[in-house]
Amino acid sequence: MLLIQQLINGLQVGSIYAVIALGYTMVYGIIKLINFAHGEVMMMGAYFAFLAAVAGMPIWAVFLISMVLSAILGMVIERVAYKPLRSAPRISSLITAIAMSLFLQNLALFIFKADPKVMPTIIKNNPVTIGSLQISNITIITFLVSVVFMVILTIFISKTKSGKAMRAVSQDTEAAMLMGINVNSTISLTFAIGSALAALGGILYAIAYTQVMPTMGLLPGLKAFVAAVLGGIGIIPGAMIGGFILGFIETLTKAYISSRWADAIVFGILIVVLSVKPTGILGKNIREKV
């Protein structure tokens, strides 16, 4: 029974990681940049939701406001910090992304101060009892909301014109440009969607742990990145699979081994995956052209 209970917990954590990992993987797919600031966008999303909830807005408005503001934030980050470096060496844009992450985190520290704020209850906790199992409705909602957004995203990318443009740019930016695709706005759109998903992850995280703080984005951000790499970075279904796997591993480690070692084990898995199959579960090998 405990195992099933833990797996259900893992499902909740995993769906949050999956949603955040989607943004990581989309951005990497399109501009080949590990957007370190993604975890911080998630944190900002949680703060936006916190502010909206404190102002007494209805639940749909909390989600909407947070996701829209985060989407804008994501686009601004791309325009200001990443776009000027698109043709620069990879190491420069990577350092910029790390700096951006640090900047947002410290900005939040400056504005909101270090102490955690209690997230107002926007969803009442009503555990559902099935046999001897207790499942929180928040778990169910988290899972459902994430799955719904993943389905929407998948349809968007495979069916719509903008989605096809995104795939084209990620395949070959120059060719896409020659085909008349507006590369800049496609990249902006990718950041907007990725950041909105990060905000979604942030809200769900804040609801699950009932608090928000400036450093809350760091570890979930890194873990979501691990999830994206695990599934195969740049591959959308990979991010989802990676997210859920990571969620399960983490909750099981906490339950059966030790919560103090959980983070080390998560990174250990990353290292093993990268050493054995750097392209991740769904990735294909590509060789450098000589």
Partner: protein
């Protein structure tokens, strides 16, 4: 070539001794107070740690984000060793040097082992894997009995002062400079420039990558050991991801591939937060902002890949006197 080099070594050696005498005079006359001496020790530690990272980032061309982890291994390794051999009652300098070497070697070995899987990966993946290792190291130290975990390690002898940290930093910089300007250093730089071409002219890239990475870890360990024996107390959470980012900031600001740039940036970024009251609180906000601005407008850092040199300066002033206004871009230290 030989004589020219020897002359420049002599000039630089003299300049260092003069600098040291100047520092000592200022300290004796209380111009530099105890408080500022403390800051200077931190500057020297940062010079060591950041220039060792520069070997990986600036010369080998691989972004590593777990340098704080290496510092931690060196710090704990050397501190535990010096506590263990306390009964032997070695003279302080000998105790410090052996402990630093033990800490450095331990870090070098672990760095080598980490490098084996990590260096097979390119660019961003290396950054992530080193970040992961840095975090794992911290979690391990936090949970081990021998390191006293999260309580922190106390009872370390305070063996470090301005004088010995100054000379250790000098030795580290000289060794790094000597490595870079040898066939080994050129092999390391060729990997930064073009890995495939390096292989094609006979460079064993795997070997030199892991050599560069191991040396980098070794000196980070030395820096960590100095830190331990100056603070006399270690908290595992000092060596977190933010610490690694701070070291990266120093390297980037000074110029990836410039040791003298790293020295200048270490002075600036260590001294500023201490000097400006109230600045410390916003230090990371300012650091990160400066980094972003640097990357956009001057990605090569303050000095780029050039080295500031006394010889270059002499040449430069001669030229100014002659009013020919030539460039002083000497490649020599």
């Amino acid at each position: 070539m030989k004589n020219k080099n020897k002359k420049s070594y002599l000039i630089n050696g003299l300049a260092l001794v003069l600098l040291f005498i100047l520092l000592n005079v200022l300290i004796k006359n209380n111009v530099i107070s105890r408080y500022y001496q403390g800051i200077m020790v931190f500057v020297f530690i940062n010079v060591i740690v950041a220039s060792s990272l520069n070997l990986t980032i600036g010369f080998l061309g691989q972004l590593a984000l777990g340098h704080a982890g290496f510092m931690a291994i060196g710090a704990y390794g050397s501190a535990l060793f010096s506590m263990y051999i306390k009964e032997m009652a070695l003279p302080p300098t000998a105790l410090l040097i052996t402990s630093l070497l033990v800490g450095g070697l331990l870090t070098g070995i672990i760095g080598y082992l980490i490098g084996l899987p990590a260096l097979r990966l390119r660019g961003d993946y290396l950054a992530i894997i080193t970040l992961g290792f840095g975090e794992i190291i911290r979690v391990i130290i936090n949970n081990l009995k021998i390191t006293r975990g999260a309580h922190g390690l106390t009872g370390i002898d305070k063996l470090v002062n301005v004088t010995n940290s100054f000379w250790i930093a000098v030795v580290v910089i000289v060794i790094l400079y000597a490595i870079i300007n040898s066939r080994h250093g050129r092999a390391i730089m060729s990997i930064r420039e073009d890995e495939i071409a390096a292989e094609a002219v006979g460079i064993n890239t795997v070997k030199y990558k892991s050599m560069g990475f191991t040396i980098s870890a070794f000196f980070a360990g030395i820096g960590g050991g100095l830190f331990a024996h100056y603070m006399a107390y270690l908290d595992p959470n000092t060596f977190n991801f933010m610490k690694s980012v701070e070291i990266v900031t120093i390297v980037v600001l000074g110029g990836m591939g410039s040791l003298t740039g790293t020295i200048i940036a270490s002075v600036v970024l260590t001294a500023l937060p201490e000097m400006l009251r109230g600045f410390a609180e916003y230090r990371l906000l300012v650091y990160s902002f400066v980094l972003i601005i640097m990357m956009i407008f001057r990605p090569q850092g303050i000095l780029g890949r050039k080295e500031f040199s006394i010889n270059g300066l002499i040449k430069h002033s001669k030229n100014i006197i002659k009013k020919t206004g030539d460039n002083a871009e000497g490649g020599e230290l």
